[in-house]
Amino acid sequence: MKILTVISNFNEEKSIERCLLDFNENATIESDLLVIDNASTDQSINLIKKRKVAFLQHPVNTGGSSGVIKTALLYSCMYEYDVYCHLDGDCQHNADELATLIQPIIDKKANIVVGSRFLHKKGFQSFFIRRLGIFSYSYIVSRITGQKITDLTSGFRAYDKKAIRFFAKQYQHEFDPCIQMLLIASFAGLILKEVPVRMNPRCAGRSEIGIIQAFKFPILGAMHIIGIILQKNNIRRLRCS
C-alpha cells in the first residue's frame, strides 16, 4: 500500500523541526513524507531544506489550510497514492497514531478517517468556546450525514484512493475542510469514520483560528451547511459519474 503523509507548514519555524523529528522517530507506518509550504515568510522553509525532506512550495499563500489540502490531494492523485494522511506542522498531531488513523482504511471500513480528540477525551481538548462551536456543528453535521462526527475541525485525517480521486477534482478554493468537505463526502457516498486520538496544544505560533475566525466560524458554518444542502443533488450526480 502506497501511503503519503503530508505535513502542512506556514510560518512554523518554531515547531516544524519537532514535527519532522516526531515523524522520523515515531511514525508507526511506512510512508513517504511530503511537507507542503504555504509560502512561508519565516525561516521554516530553510529548516525543512536542511533536513532534506521532500517538500512542495506554493508560489503564493493560498490562505488557510484548504489550499495545502488541495495540493496534497492533487499530488496524491497524480502519484497514485493509496492513502493520504495529513498532519499539521504545529505538533498538535502525533505521528505514533498514524497506524490507528489509517486502520479503518486498511480494513476497508472507511474512505475518510478523522482523528477525534473527543472520543476518548485524552490530551488537549481545546478551549470552552471553541469546544462549544465544535460540538454544535459536529452534532448538526452528524444529523445531516447520519454518520457520527465529534471533532469536525480536526486536521488529523486520512483519505483513501476513492476520496483522493474525488476531492482532487472537486476540492475548490477556500473550501472549508471542516464542514463542507465532510458533508460533500457524505453526499458523494464516501464513508466517514472517526478514531480516537490524543492532541497536543500548539507548541509554538498562533492558530489560524483567531478572534475573527471565532466569529466567522458559526456564520460561515451555517452558510456552508445551507450551500451544501442546496447542492445535494448535484453532488449525488457526481458520485454516479
Binding site: A54, F55, Q57, H58, L74
Partner: protein, 113 residues
C-alpha cells in the same frame, strides 16, 4: 429637471464615457467588465435627453419623483453587476488555486530531475 442638473448629468456621462474609452484602449480592463461604465454613461445621457419618457414611466408606476425611479434603477443595476463580479471572482479563485497547486507540483518534479 433644472438646467444646472442637466449640465452636471451630461458632464458625468461624458466622464464615464472617457473612462470607458481610456480603460479599454489601455487594456487595463476587459471590454466585458467596462461595459457597465459604458451603459451608465448611456443611461445618464438618456435621462437628460428623454426626460419626459422617464417622467411618464414614473407616473405609470405611481412614483412621485422620477429621480427615485432612476436611483432605484441604478441600484438594481449595480447589485446585478456585483453579483456577476462575485461569480467571476469565485471562478477565478478556483482557477488560481488549481494553478498554484499545479505550479508547486511541477516545481518539485523539476527539482527532482
Amino acid at each position: 429637471m433644472q438646467l444646472s442638473v442637466k449640465i452636471l448629468s451630461l458632464l458625468c456621462a461624458i466622464f464615464f464615457l472617457i473612462i470607458f474609452i481610456c480603460l479599454v484602449r489601455r487594456r487595463s480592463i476587459k471590454p466585458v467588465y467596462s461595459f457597465l461604465w459604458f451603459l451608465i454613461s448611456i443611461l445618464i445621457f438618456c435621462v437628460v435627453i428623454f426626460e419626459r419618457f422617464f417622467k411618464w414611466v414614473a407616473n405609470l408606476l405611481h412614483i412621485a419623483d422620477a429621480s427615485f425611479l432612476i436611483i432605484a434603477g441604478v441600484i438594481f443595476f449595480l447589485l446585478v453587476y456585483v453579483l456577476y463580479l462575485s461569480i467571476k471572482i469565485s471562478e477565478a479563485s478556483d482557477k488560481i488555486q488549481e494553478l498554484i497547486s499545479h505550479v508547486a507540483i511541477l516545481q518539485k518534479s523539476k527539482q527532482d530531475k
